[in-house]
Symmetry: C2
Subunit: 460 residues, 2 copies
């Protein structure tokens, strides 16, 4: 019930039929009066459903500035930007790009070939081109790469009245007018105040009296995940970005941080599932298989290695075939425990909680956890196997194997990503299936090692 | 480098030693002048490091209103709220709760016993108690449960001047003043405008002329995940919450949505890893084991079931021990593929992409994906086993088993969560290890089924 009502809430805003009709009849006035009244996200949703011919009409109907607004909200695959831009005349496209917020324009340009970028920047208006060029320099996933330069900065020796005056004049181009940054003559960041502060204070009050001078800022090379964490903790709507001399370079707004959070969450999740990229939509089986096969093939070879290890115990298996029955159980339990420990460690790294702890403390806690889960599951298995097979020794063998396998798997699951993170190695390698396969191997070695050593007791 | 600079950026704001000294020397003025200058998040971080005696000083030094600000930013375990509140006098605690934003107060009260809630609500100021009582009614994880009632509403027949007047008077208590909602005499939501709109327009302009009348709103029973999705798509700083007659009930601000996104991402991630709760920090092995054991025990029984299935093929295994060697490979590959498909489906459900598709289209795409990955891995395995064991029939057997196992595992991984979601069953059951274990069972049945049927060809 709530869902359908929600849909109607959303749908009532777009009169698609009217829009399509005006498009087809070339009725520019009807189209514009309806279309420009929509939220940019709804404009973009409508635009994405059009075919190329219809889109050509839209470029004709909208100014580059109006198109910029729509384009910032476009959700298409990274490799499609180039195609859509190619539909526009180069001047129109360049004009549109220079009318976009600099950070969004940079996101689009980052998906194009270098030649295309250069050609758009050449015909673009000089100021925008300069701004964009500077932003293009910053490394991906840093604060610099997601910041925008369209912020409002004022001087401390102004009054509220003059600050409001500046704010009104900059309102059309600034990405947010709710935070105003205070800088000195060198553009050093000295304070911040919100529009709320400006509104509730009298016109003659000096900015220096009401500004907050302990500004929380991020440096331009900071990891975007850390920026997201600060935005979450401080509940800001924007964060200032500074260089090492504390000069204000740009701001990062909360809407961009929401996208970063989605991206980072999706990234952690993909790694745990062992899949290359979950962000883009699978349109057909081939594109889906392309993303899954690389990991599967690697895991296949690891699996063959596991198989060859078991192969070494063929003699043991030949004599006591019942041993094979418990291989998936032991390997599976080790894999499950390892994945749990991995998930805890990766989330701990992501939220910063684990950073604060000493590595020895984590090791001892995880070892303790492994002992508790190992003991519980080990004892449980021993009894189940004993009652099922009537063989206490076999039960004990499987139980003890699970005991050791769970301890080692817990430690491996938590320590591998942690150590890799501390060594600044990309933890992508420590993905879920990888840890699972490693733990398969370890647990099977433990199981067959013990079984082979005590072979003579396995009376069958 | 960037990290250390970041830390100094953050740390320079808090002079902990000064604060601790003023606390110990009972120097209330020094403490207040330093402490109240901090961002509420930094106040909360400092507060969390104190022991009980020191915290009692803080309650003495700060007014309930000042404490409310800190308390909203407190990041402690859910079960600790009750202890911290018990340290305060009941009147102080009630006063503080009534000074908190209603949504944050509700979050805290939700963690207390019913008796405690009632007693706080009784001594609290009537208006706040009424507001909080209404919010307490909404079901968890709905828009109603995360909304706040401290919004600014105006009438359409006002001027910009009078709207700004209302805004200034409500600024101290409203959770955001950047969005102003326009309602008619019945409190029906008819429009919205931003503070930016108010600022750039002349004082005499009527609100009805500049307001945006196609308001995007959510209904009060809407799932919080859907609310987060809309906030992300539309880049709003707040969303209005309405009932079925479109009466404005409250607003949801972006900072709360960031917390929802974290919670939902963490939730999806926990399910994939098969772990109960990743949000709270594991302080010791016992609390860690408590969260992991429930799943492990369930999986243990499922694993025993897998073992009993293999047990039925003991005769086959007795004759051809080499078959056991490939059990982990086949089960592992099926588990990995299933987890990948599960991850794609769960993310697709979370982002809403899969909602738009017909279920038959998804089935055929996933089946296609399974055929491609199955064929690739199947052929690869056939050759590897052939070259390793010199037995083409054995290679073919393992290859064909992998081919079928991958197809079934891909379908199971994607369809189980999808069907459960459509049937409105909690998809928590379809967690990663569960799907993995199901796929273990299916793949082993396929493998031993084929092996037993063609037993006579397995010449060893």
């Amino acid at each position: 019930m709530s869902e359908s009502s929600q849909e109607s809430n959303q749908k009532q805003h777009i009169d698609k039929e009217l829009l399509m009709e005006s498009l087809k009849n070339d009725n520019i006035e009807n189209f514009r009066s309806e279309f420009l009244d929509l939220h940019a996200y709804d404009q973009a949703s409508f635009f994405m459903e059009l075919n190329e011919e219809e889109r050509l009409h839209v470029y004709h109907f909208l100014s580059p500035e109006e198109m910029a607004n729509l384009f910032e909200n476009l959700e298409i695959e990274d490799d499609e930007y180039s195609d859509v831009l190619a539909e526009m005349s180069p001047n129109y496209a360049a004009d549109m790009l220079s009318n976009m917020y600099a950070d969004d324009a940079v996101d689009v340009l980052n998906e194009l070939d270098k030649d295309q970028v250069v050609s758009y920047l050449t015909i673009m208006n000089k100021d925008s081109a300069q701004e964009i060029k500077e932003l293009l320099h910053y490394e991906e996933y840093t604060a610099g790469s997601i910041m925008t330069t369209e912020f409002i900065a004022i001087a401390a020796n102004q009054t509220v009245r003059s600050a409001m005056h500046i704010l009104k004049s900059k309102a059309p181009s600034a990405e947010t007018i709710y935070y105003v940054y205070v800088v000195d003559e060198d553009r050093t960041l000295v304070g911040v105040l919100t529009l709320r502060d400006l509104i509730v204070n009298e016109d003659d009050v000096m900015i220096s009296e009401i500004m907050y001078d302990r500004v929380v800022s991020v440096s331009v090379g900071e990891d975007q995940e850390e920026v997201a964490r600060m935005m979450r903790d401080y509940d800001f709507l924007a964060l200032p970005v500074v260089d090492f001399q504390n000069h204000l370079l740009g701001i990062i707004t909360v809407d961009d941080i929401i996208d970063v959070m989605e991206e980072e969450a999706s990234d952690d999740y993909s790694k745990l599932a062992g899949i290359a990229d979950l962000d883009s939509i699978d349109r057909n089986p081939i594109s889906a298989a392309k993303k899954r096969l690389p990991w599967l093939v690697i895991l296949l070879f690891l699996g063959m290695f596991t198989a060859s290890l078991i192969g070494r115990f063929e003699e043991t298996l030949d004599k006591v075939a019942i041993l094979a029955v418990f291989i998936p159980l032991i390997a599976g339990m080790a894999g499950n425990t390892g994945t749990q420990a991995l998930a805890v460690a990766v989330r701990g790294i992501a939220t910063g909680d684990l950073e604060k702890e000493k590595i020895m403390k984590i090791i001892s806690r995880e070892a303790g956890t492994g002992v508790i889960t190992g003991t519980t599951c080990g004892i449980l298995v021993t009894f189940i196997v004993y009652f099922w097979q009537g063989d206490l020794f076999l039960g004990g063998l499987v139980g003890i194997s699970i005991f050791f396998a769970l301890i080692v798997a817990t430690l491996a699951g938590s320590l591998v990503p942690l150590i890799m993170h501390r060594l600044k190695i990309d933890p992508a390698v420590a993905s879920g299936p990888f840890i699972t396969t490693i733990n398969d191997i370890i647990s099977i070695l433990i199981y067959f090692g013990i079984a082979t050593a005590f072979m003579s007791y396995l009376t069958r």
